[in-house]
Every structure is written in C-alpha cells, then in structure tokens.
C-alpha cells in the first residue's frame, strides 16, 4: 500500500488481487448472494482507491481495509433491504411475479391447455374424435363426417355427449 501511494501500479494491482479473498470472506458476513458479494467487493476496492491517501504506513493495513469493507458491507446490506422492500425478484421459478392479473394470462392459458388435453384423453374415442373435428378444428359436419367415418347424426350426438362428459369431468376435477 505504501508503494501504491507512491504510484506503483504493479504493486497496487498485486495488492488488490491479494486482498480480494480476505475482503470477500469479510463481506460474506453481510450477504450470502454471490453476485451481491462481488458488487460489494468492487465497491470496497473503489472506496479503498478513493481513500488511499488516508492509509498511514505506521499502522497495520488489515484493520484499515477491514473498516472499509465493513462500511461497504453495511451499505450493501442496507441497499438490499431497501430494494427488497419495494421490489420482487423476477426469476423463472416465480409465477406470481406481477400484481397485474393480465400479466399471468399466458402461463394460465398454457396450464388450461394441458388440463384440457388430459381430460380429452379420458373421453371415449368416438366422442373425442367428434369434439376435436367439430369444435377444435372447426370442420363442417360434412367434412367431419368424411374425416371420421361417422354419420352426421352420430357426430351431433357424440359431440353433445362429449361436451356433457367434459363438463362433468371439469366439475369433478375442481
């Protein structure tokens, strides 16, 4: 540090690299999040740089550095608490991220599609074919009849029964 005060860049770089593990260990007392620790570490090094003229070579270096790290650790902790009070972290695992209900529509639509597919699989084959052809693919009765091999009357009856069965399944599930 004495050499760094005199402007020795190489000695300064070596010193900063050497103290990094010590500072990181000190900062772990204030935070366990890796990225935040790195941010506090850089804050500490920047503060050290700014106040380097206050270091007195007749006094030990570690308490001086430790005091700077402790101050930046406390500041970092305060910043984290302040942010936590106003913001919610937006990572991929949290679905209830936003207070606006419309923001969750996409994920809810995906879930609804999965649930519907599961219920459709439980219907008898003829009913499922009729429902898929007429309601999901929106074919005409004649097209659906040609595609499925069922008569128009059978398609109508099977669609009606399929909807009724689905309604019953939904009620049972919920």
């Amino acid at each position: 540090m004495h050499a760094a005060q005199a402007g020795d860049r190489q000695a300064y770089g070596e010193l900063l690299r050497e103290v990094t593990p010590f500072v990181r260990a000190l900062l772990r007392r204030y935070c366990s999040h890796r990225q935040d620790i790195e941010e506090m570490l850089q804050d500490t090094l920047l503060s050290l740089h700014r106040v380097r003229r206050t270091y007195d070579p007749r006094r030990p270096f570690r308490p001086w550095l430790g005091a700077i790290a402790a101050r930046r650790g406390i500041d970092g902790l305060r910043r984290r608490l302040r942010v936590a009070r106003h913001e919610i972290s937006a990572d991929a695992r949290s679905y209830e991220t936003f207070s606006e209900p419309a923001a969750n529509d996409d994920i809810e639509a995906l879930r609804a599609r999965d649930e519907l597919n599961e219920l459709l699989q439980r219907l008898p084959v003829r009913q499922r074919e009729a429902l898929e052809a007429l309601k999901l693919r929106q074919l005409s009765l004649a097209e659906a009849s040609a595609a499925s091999g069922q008569s128009v009357a059978a398609l109508k009856v099977n669609t009606h029964r399929a909807l009724k069965a689905l309604r019953a399944l939904f009620q049972k599930e919920s």
Partner: protein, 211 residues
C-alpha cells in the same frame, strides 16, 4: 464487470497521492489557525474591561473552559472519525465537556433566575444566535475543506462532530462579547444555534464531505 477487470482498471488509473497527516496533526492545524484568528479578533474587538472580571468568576470560567474543551474535543473527534480505521467511540469524546458547558450555563440561569436581561427585550438575545451562526460559517468552510480530503466513509458522525466543534468554537468566542450573565433565553438560543448548525452540517454531509 468482472472483479479482475475492475482491479486492472483501478491499477491502470493509479496516480501517486500525498499521504494525509495524522488526524491529531490535522486537528491541531485547524485549531491553531482558528485560535490565532480568534486571538486577533478578541484582542481587537472584545470588551475586555467587562469580559475579564466576568471570567474571574469560577462558574463562568468553568463554562468558558468547558466550551473551549468541547470545541477541541469535537474537532479532534471529527478528524479521527474521518479516517477508516479509527474507533467510532471517538464520537463520545466531546460529551463530558459538553455536559459541563450545559450544566454550568444552566446553573447560571437558575441562580440568577433571569429570563431577560434588565430592561432588554428578546430581540437582544437573538444577537447571540446570529453571532454563533455567522462566526461558524467561515470556520466550517475551513474545517470541511480539510475534512473532505479524507473522503470519510461514514459521513454522519464526521459532519455532526465537525459542526459541533465549529459551533462550540463560535460559542467560546461569544463569551468575550457577551458582557452579562446567560439568561434562560440566551441559553436556549445558544443551544438552538448549536443544534441548528449540527443538523444543517449533518444534512449537507454528502456535498460537504464528498462521500
């Protein structure tokens, strides 16, 4: 940015710096400069014929000495606290003389039982307030110019101690321009001036101390 890159940038931009003197030495320089200026002002303008007999009274002498000691202790504490590795307990140093100062002034008011000076109005007590604030400003300019060179990491106690020291110095000087006993109104205004300065200095700590 990666820490390694950050270190390289810091090292690449390193310029030599002039090491600061020890906090005690810097406090002594400020106190010596202000002491010389105060001595000149007292010698030139103070009402010594009324001030000296007052200072011979033990209670007033104690009050005056406690005011001066509060100033010295607070200035020393401000310089010590401006450096990272000094104990936060320095902030307690001005407390004993401050309590003696307040006690001696308070006792003076109680004993004399005065609320106002004979035949004077409240307007005259406000001169003390103006005096303390007006004298404190140039002293604070010099003090903060010296303190900000250390770029204190925790500016609140530094600013509070600094302004307390400055206000106490002004109150010490006031003793030589205050040819009558302190009344309750005077004491309240002295304290109001000191408190206002401490609050103002603490509120303006970031621009004043570059931290």
């Amino acid at each position: 940015m990666q820490t390694e890159q950050f270190i390289e940038q810091l090292a690449a931009g390193l310029e030599p710096v002039k090491r600061l003197r020890t906090p005690a030495a810097r406090a002594a320089i400020w106190l010596a400069l202000v002491g010389c200026a105060a001595a000149l002002v007292i010698a030139s303008y103070a009402h010594m014929d009324t001030a000296l007999p007052r200072l011979a009274i033990p209670r007033i002498a104690i009050e005056c000495a406690a005011t001066g000691l509060t100033a010295i202790a607070a200035i020393l504490a401000a310089f010590e606290l401006s450096v990272p590795d000094r104990s936060a307990r320095w902030a307690w140093l001005p407390l004993p003389p401050l309590l003696v100062w307040l006690g001696a002034s308070g006792l003076g008011c109680l004993r004399s039982g005065l609320l106002f000076h004979d035949g004077s109005a409240i307007g005259e007590s406000s001169h003390c307030f103006i005096f303390i604030v007006a004298v404190s400003v140039p002293l604070a300019v010099l003090l903060f110019a010296m303190l900000r060179r250390a770029r204190p990491l925790n500016p609140i106690p530094v600013a509070a101690m600094g302004t307390l020291g400055v206000a106490a110095s002004a109150a010490f000087l006031l003793e030589f321009f205050h040819p009558y006993d302190v009344t309750a109104i005077d004491l309240a205004l002295h304290l109001a001036a000191v408190a206002a300065l401490v609050l103002l200095g603490t509120a303006l700590r970031r621009p004043l101390l570059r931290s």
